[in-house]
Structure formats: structure tokens, C-alpha cells
């Protein structure tokens, strides 16, 4: 039981990070219609910078600021590469450009940090007792931060004029432009928001996991799988997808083997992508002619 609760809390913390990546996808996809596969690499960059600063005893605020700054720099770089001045174009080409950006970021991280894994500096974690289960307080803190970031983002999008301008760009770029919304700026802003979210997520991920130059690909696919559950459009459902996937992964690595996390992400993605079509097909199926005739006769 104690192990199960521990896995659950672990899963919630990592799942929260997936949720933040998923929201990064959703914001960028809605505004510029690009699937930014480098989203996980933004987070990996933030994680490494955060852990490097923590190990250099720069202090928590400076480390978080550094993480956000690193993600921001990486995101603006991706934006420069993937969004051309022409605006919306062939989605596959844009996707491949973000994939190229992902390779560039991973290369840069490898040059800067090498192949070593970074972790939090050793210190006694605050243990909180819930009933007879002892929980690492850092995990609870991470979950709280993630939820706060999620709520903040949704409020920003739905309650502020800038958020409305972004949503307008998302719904109809042409109409938004006619209403004097600078849509290219909105696109940059979308990447910036995705970066801030990734920066916070990177710090959170660094607190509960390890930082490495190539963590991005795994994080990107996990975050994308979560975002698909929200139809690439709905941040709340994308976040739920992140938490569900995080918990599933924690359970699989707890009870089976940790390397099965990536295969699990693949299965999760396939199920999420294909389940709706399958359900529709089942729902549409009419009774066959013989069955109908029997029903009429009865």
C-alpha cells in the first residue's frame, strides 16, 4: 500500500510535468497551428540549467529564473526556425522544422552539459506523514506548483484582453488581423508562454527526476500523447491526459520495469488517437439485414 501511494504521488508529480508540456503544445498549436515537437527539449534545457544552478548553490529563485530564461531562449529559437514570415503553411513541413530545432537544441545541450546526468544537490528531503504513509514533501510542492501554473494559464487565456487576442488569432487569423491583432506577435507570444510553462516544468522535473541532454524526445512524445487527449485544443483535458499518463508510467516503472515508460507512451498515444474513430465505427454499425428481419418478425 505504501509503495502504491508513493508511485501515485510520483506519478502525479511527473504527470504534472507532462501536463505542462501538453499545455505548451496546445497553446502553440492553437495560435500558430504548429505541432512543436521541440517542446520537450525546451523543458530538458530548463531542467539542466535549473539543476546546474542548484548545484552551483545559486539559490532556488535564481535557479528557477535561469530555467525559465533557458526555455525562453530555446523557444524563441524554435519560433525563428519553424515559423516563416508567410505565416501558416504546410503543417508537415513546419513539424519537421521543429524536429530539426529539437536536434539542434539537443546538440547544444550535449555540447554544454556533456553526457552526465544532473540531479538535485544531496539534502534531506522534508518528509510529510499522511496517515501511516511517508511522503517526500518536494513531490507535493511540485504538484502544487504545476496545478497553480495550469490555473494561471487558463485564467490568462480566458480573462485577459491579451488572452482573448490570442484566442482570436487561434480561431481565425484573418479575422483577428482585421481587428488589428498583430498575429505574428501573438505567435511569438504563444511560444513565449509555452517556454515559461516549460521553464517552470523544467524546475519541477529537476526536483523529482534527473536532467540529461536527451530527455527531450521522451518528454515530447509523452506531452504530445497527453495533448492529443485534449484534441490539441483543450488545455484542461490535455492536463488531465498528462496526469493520467504520469500515473500510468509511475505504476509501470514501479511494478514492472522503468524502461517500459516509452513503450507505454506509444501505446497510450495509439489508444488515444484511435479510440474515438473505433468508438464511432462501433456506434454507427447497424444491425445486419438478417438480424433486422428477425427483429421485425418478432
Amino acid at each position: 500500500m505504501e509503495a502504491f501511494v508513493q508511485y501515485l504521488i510520483n506519478g502525479l508529480a511527473v504527470g504534472g510535468v507532462f501536463a505542462l508540456i501538453a499545455i505548451g503544445y496546445v497553446v502553440v498549436f492553437r495560435v500558430v497551428r504548429i505541432v512543436n515537437i521541440a517542446q520537450g527539449d525546451l523543458l530538458a534545457a530548463a531542467t539542466l540549467v535549473f539543476l546546474w544552478l542548484m548545484n552551483a548553490h545559486a539559490g532556488l529563485p535564481a535557479a528557477i529564473a535561469g530555467a525559465v530564461a533557458a526555455a525562453l531562449a530555446a523557444a524563441l529559437f524554435v519560433e525563428r526556425i519553424a515559423v516563416t514570415t508567410g505565416g501558416w503553411f504546410d503543417d508537415l513541413r513546419a513539424f519537421l522544422l521543429t524536429l530539426a530545432a529539437s536536434q539542434l537544441i539537443q546538440g547544444a545541450l550535449l555540447l554544454l552539459f556533456g553526457t552526465q546526468y544532473l540531479t538535485m544537490p544531496a539534502s534531506a528531503p522534508p518528509i510529510i506523514a499522511i496517515g501511516d504513509v511517508h511522503v517526500n514533501g518536494v513531490y507535493l510542492l511540485v504538484i502544487a506548483i504545476v496545478v497553480l501554473a495550469l490555473v494561471g494559464l487558463v485564467l490568462f487565456l480566458e480573462r485577459t484582453p491579451l488572452g482573448w487576442a490570442m484566442l482570436a488569432t487561434a480561431d481565425d487569423p484573418l479575422a483577428a488581423r482585421l481587428c488589428a491583432v498583430p498575429i505574428r506577435t501573438m505567435g511569438v507570444l504563444a511560444f513565449a508562454i509555452a517556454a515559461v510553462v516549460a521553464g517552470i516544468g523544467g524546475a519541477a522535473y529537476g526536483a523529482v527526476a534527473i536532467g540529461s541532454w536527451n530527455a527531450g524526445t521522451t518528454l515530447s512524445t509523452a506531452g504530445f500523447a497527453a495533448a492529443v487527449l485534449g484534441g490539441m485544443k483543450n488545455p484542461t483535458r490535455a492536463a488531465i491526459g498528462g496526469f493520467v499518463l504520469g500515473i500510468l508510467q509511475a505504476l509501470v516503472s514501479g511494478y514492472a520495469a522503468s524502461y517500459l515508460q516509452d513503450p507505454l507512451t506509444f501505446v497510450f498515444l495509439i489508444v488515444v488517437l484511435l479510440a474515438p474513430a473505433l468508438a464511432r465505427r462501433v456506434a454507427r454499425r447497424r444491425p445486419r439485414r438478417a438480424a433486422r428481419a428477425a427483429a421485425v418478425a418478432a
Binding site: Q103, T265, R286
Partner: protein, 571 residues
């Protein structure tokens, strides 16, 4: 147009094979071999990416399946080189077929991301499951032994011979029925089905085929390096393969050129860092990989060959100019036998009924016209009869057998032909290829084109024809079928046609009816219909309101009201 056969340009790739027999220095041989191996994988990827339009990022995963299978069979079961290699290729093709069955349900970008997730999952398994030897990997296949060649030369020579073989196979398939089906599918799933192809099976076969190419590349790679480990099959290498295919554009030979350029760029950057630390080499390699893709996509998104494509149209045997206009062969059925019967068809989009309780029957040799004002549900009804919309309500019989849940391509194989309202012709194929796609007989093409007056345009791209001529291509496609269709469904075939073209259309439709085909045609032009049809069915708001022979039906008040609106009712 000359009768020159297309040059066997794939033979060019034998030049590196010959060169490898002469060169003795190990490093150039390894680089040349790597290029050949990547070229094989890239040509395979081009089949899914370019021909079938499915961007796969899992090509290195299927290379890994081939490499690990061959190595494990040799290490553990002591299989000799050749059977182990063949088993590796088969395993890769099978894996691609199986994962294709799942992943090919996804479209475009989602397919790309699904294959990316598959790649990440596979790398995790290869790195961690003990049987695959973890990060260190396994000892690869024993080196090739070819008499007279050194152990460095042999794999390189074999690789380039296989490049040539792979190109030859790919071009042959491209011109075969399979290749035409794939190219049609890229532009329109509907037309592909209408001539009897199963789109799902086409895509799966193409994916399995590129998996087989990947398997060959994977097996060669382990034989060349005598080692197999997960880092050989990383996402980065899949991305490099995609870059090679994009560089190649539509041409497979240019894809090999892409492999040459991209492998050389990587090798140059690596050799300039010969004594640098591993992380520096790895980091630079990733950056080079990313930069190559950025440069290609930003500056040559259509590939290097896109400029030359139109001019290098390949010459084929000329169409026989004195061809006799095609006449459909008579069907072995008595005129009037019920061929297509639909009862109580209902179909709704959301809450709106497009068709609500329509029934019709048409016999062999009969021409039934369905008319009605805009939005009457004519096209929807025809689409249901062809099977392109799943049947929601009602029953459809084809020659006395129920076909309610039969897929469009199966109906096409059972004798249902169709032409579409929004003309479905494949613009990036020649007229000849469009027509040939309907059947298997080359000799049927010329008569079919003769019948619609398009003999002179046989080798033109369909995109170069006028609207009316494109419609005629659709008509010729029906004429060139291997067997006379039992049912012909035509959606507004006369719209946009000139008077002479209408006459040709009417002649062709009558010829089909005379041969025993049951024709259902939806048409706006009432005068055209009145001269051609045996019977007319009038739809309004998805409900049949009248049916009968043209002469009397068109005078009925209810029909006139539906078309022109009824007189205002005095209050």
C-alpha cells in the same frame, strides 16, 4: 513522341559497386558502404513518404528489427549469413506490416508522431532488454567473404549492387498497377476505391515494402560494422533519412544523391573532429543533422528535382493512332434484369436528413436519371449507392445480392463503376496512366481514349487538359475497365461540357446501356436528361416526389412546382 524505352538509369548506381572493387583504402570503403546502406533505407522510405504520402520516422526502427533478428539468429541459433540475413529482412517487413496496420489509420502529422513514438519506444527496449545486449549491443554478422575481395570491399560492393536492385524494383513497382494505385491514393481516396483498389491494403503493402528495404539496410549495416547497437537506430538517423528523401524530391535516383550529400556532410564534420572528445563529436553531429534539415526545408521544400520534373516526362510507347473507338462488351444478362435496387434509403448529416426514404430500381440496359433542385439529396443518394457513405438506413442490392455493408472498392470489383460530381482525376498522372488505373490491359487504353476523342492527349498530364477533357478522362476510365460494369453511377457528367462533348457522353452512356449496364445518372440539365434517360426519378428535400418516363413526367405539376416554385396560395 518516340517509342524509346526509358533508360535504365538505376544502372548508374553500379558505378560505386565497381569502384569499390578497385579501391583498397578502408576509410573510403566504409564511407561508400554507409552511403549505399543509407541509400537503400532512404529509397524504401521514399516509397512510404513520397509515393504513399505517409511521413515515417520509424525507418531506423525497422532497420533495427532486421539487424537484431539477423544477429541473434547467427549468434544464438548459429544460422549461416545468408539465411540469417533473409530472416532479418522478412522480420523487418513483417514488423512494418503489423505496425502499419495500426499506425496507417492515422493521417499525415499524427502518423509522423505515431512513428516517432514507436521509434522512441523501440530504442528504449533495445537499450534495456537484456537479450539485445543493452547499450553495448551485440556482435554483428560475420563479415562477408567474397572471393577476390577484401573484408572491407565485400559489404560495400554488395550494398551498391543492392542499391541498384532496390531502385530497379521500386521503378518497376511504380509503373505497375500497385504504383499507379499509390499515386492515385495520394490525390484521392475516392477515385482509388472507384477503380477497385483497397486503400488500406495499398498503404500497408507500401509500408511493409519500405520495411523490407529497411531490413536489407539493417542487415548490411551489422555485416559492415560487425556490431549492432541502439545508437545506430536513433531518431536522429531516421531524421537524416527523411532529409535524404526530401532532398531527392520525386526522383528515386536523386534520393540516392541525397544520401551521398548528407552522409558526406556528416563524415566531413566527423573527420574534422577526429581527436575531439566524444561529447563534442556527438553534439556537432546533432547540430549538423538539424541544420541539414532546416536548410533543405527552408530553401528546397519540394526537393532538388522539383524544377526538372515536368521536363523529364518519360517517353513511352505511342498510343496506336488508328485505334478503334471502344465499345463495351455485352454483359451476359437479359435486358431489364434488376441490377441495382435500393429500398427506403435514409441518410442524415447531423440533424438534417439529406435523403429520407428514397427507393429506386434500375435494370440491365436501363438509363435512370435522378433529377431535382439543389439540395434535393441526389449526390448523397448516388454516394450511398456507391458505398462511399456508410449506409445509415435502408437496403441496397446489387444484382440480387445485398451489398449494404460492402466497401466501395469491393463494390467496384463486383461491377459498380462511378464518375464523380467534383471530378476525380489524378492530376499528377498522365491521361494514359489515369485510364490504365481502371484495369490491367494496356491495349484497352487506346480504344477508350479513341471513344472520347483524347488519343492525341494520351501522354499529357491531366492537369494540362481543359475541364471538359478531364471529364472525358473519367469516362475513358470507365471504358477501359477489364469487364463491362454492371452498374454505372454518374454524378452530373454533363456539367461544364461543350455540345460536341455532350454528344460523346450521350453516345458512351447509350453504348453502355446497349451492352447491358444499368446506368444511374444525376443531372441538372433536364433537356439533356429528357433525350437520354429511359426513366426519371425526381427528388425534393431527400424525398422522391415523382417517377416516370421523361415525356409525361416533366409535364407533371408537382415536378414543375419543385423546380420553379408553386404559385403563391391566395390567403
Amino acid at each position: 513522341m518516340t517509342a524509346r524505352r526509358a533508360a535504365p538509369w538505376w544502372l548508374l548506381t553500379l558505378i560505386p559497386a565497381i569502384a569499390a572493387c578497385v579501391v583498397r583504402a578502408p576509410y573510403p570503403l566504409v564511407v561508400l558502404g554507409t552511403i549505399g546502406i543509407d541509400a537503400i533505407a532512404a529509397v524504401g522510405l521514399a516509397i512510404t513518404l513520397r509515393k504513399a504520402g505517409q511521413p515515417s520516422l520509424a525507418q531506423t526502427t525497422f532497420m533495427a528489427v532486421g539487424a537484431y533478428t539477423a544477429s541473434l539468429l547467427e549468434l544464438n541459433a548459429h544460422w549461416p549469413l545468408l539465411p540469417a540475413g533473409i530472416a532479418g529482412v522478412a522480420a523487418a517487413a513483417l514488423a512494418a506490416w503489423l505496425f502499419g496496420a495500426i499506425l496507417l489509420n492515422l493521417e499525415g502529422l499524427y502518423f509522423a508522431l505515431g512513428t516517432l513514438a514507436l521509434n522512441a519506444a523501440a530504442v528504449a527496449v533495445f537499450r534495456n532488454a537484456g537479450v539485445f545486449g543493452n547499450d553495448e549491443g551485440l556482435q554483428g554478422l560475420a563479415a562477408f567473404h567474397i572471393p577476390g575481395l577484401s573484408s572491407d570491399q565485400a559489404p560495400t560492393v554488395v550494398a551498391w549492387v543492392l542499391v541498384a536492385a532496390g531502385l530497379y524494383l521500386a521503378t518497376r513497382l511504380d509503373r505497375a498497377r500497385f504504383g499507379r494505385g499509390l499515386r492515385m491514393l495520394r490525390e484521392s481516396a475516392k477515385v482509388t476505391q472507384s477503380v477497385g483498389f483497397d486503400p488500406a491494403s495499398l498503404k500497408r503493402s507500401a509500408f511493409a515494402l519500405s520495411g523490407a528495404y529497411a531490413g536489407v539496410a539493417g542487415v548490411l549495416l551489422t555485416a559492415q560494422l560487425s556490431v549492432v547497437n541502439p545508437s545506430l537506430f536513433s531518431l536522429g538517423n531516421s531524421i537524416a533519412l527523411v532529409a535524404m528523401v526530401i532532398t531527392g524530391g520525386e526522383s528515386l535516383l536523386a534520393t540516392v544523391g541525397g544520401a551521398v550529400v548528407i552522409v558526406l556532410v556528416h563524415e566531413l564534420s566527423r573527420s574534422s573532429l577526429q581527436y575531439a572528445p566524444v561529447t563534442l563529436v556527438g553534439g556537432i553531429d546533432l547540430i549538423v543533422n538539424g541544420l541539414v534539415l532546416v536548410v533543405i526545408l527552408r530553401f528546397w521544400p519540394q526537393g532538388l528535382t522539383s524544377f526538372a520534373r515536368r521536363r523529364s516526362r518519360r517517353a513511352e510507347a505511342p498510343v496506336e493512332q488508328r485505334a478503334v473507338a471502344a465499345k463495351p462488351a455485352a454483359l451476359p444478362v437479359a435486358q431489364g434484369t434488376p441490377m441495382l435496387v435500393a429500398r427506403d434509403i435514409g441518410h442524415r448529416f447531423g440533424g438534417v436528413y439529406a435523403v429520407d426514404g428514397a427507393s429506386l430500381g434500375v435494370g440491365a440496359g436501363e438509363i435512370l436519371a435522378v433529377i431535382g433542385p439543389n439540395g434535393a439529396g441526389k449526390t448523397t443518394l448516388l454516394t450511398i449507392l456507391g458505398g462511399y457513405h456508410p449506409l445509415q438506413r435502408g437496403e441496397v442490392d446489387l444484382a440480387g445480392e445485398p451489398v449494404d455493408d460492402v466497401a466501395p472498392f469491393r463494390r467496384a470489383r463486383r461491377g459498380v463503376a462511378a464518375t464523380f460530381q467534383h471530378m476525380e482525376v489524378v492530376e499528377q498522372m498522365s491521361v494514359r496512366e489515369n485510364v490504365l488505373a481502371a484495369g490491367t490491359r494496356e491495349e484497352a487504353v487506346a480504344p477508350a481514349l479513341g471513344a472520347v476523342g483524347l488519343l492525341d492527349a494520351a501522354d499529357a498530364y491531366v492537369s494540362e487538359l481543359s475541364f471538359g477533357q478531364q471529364r472525358m478522362v473519367e469516362l475513358a476510365r470507365v471504358l477501359a475497365r477489364d469487364e463491362t460494369p454492371r452498374v454505372l453511377l454518374m454524378d452530373e457528367p454533363a456539367s461544364g461540357l461543350s455540345q460536341p462533348e455532350r454528344a460523346v457522353l450521350a453516345d458512351v452512356v447509350r453504348a453502355f446501356a446497349a451492352a447491358g449496364t444499368a446506368v444511374v445518372l444525376v443531372e441538372h440539365d433536364v433537356a439533356f436528361v429528357a433525350r437520354l434517360a429511359d426513366r426519371i426519378l425526381v427528388l425534393d428535400h431527400g424525398v422522391p416526389i415523382a417517377e416516370g418516363v421523361p415525356q409525361t413526367l416533366l409535364r407533371e405539376q408537382v415536378v414543375i412546382d419543385a423546380y420553379l416554385g408553386s404559385a403563391a396560395v391566395p390567403a
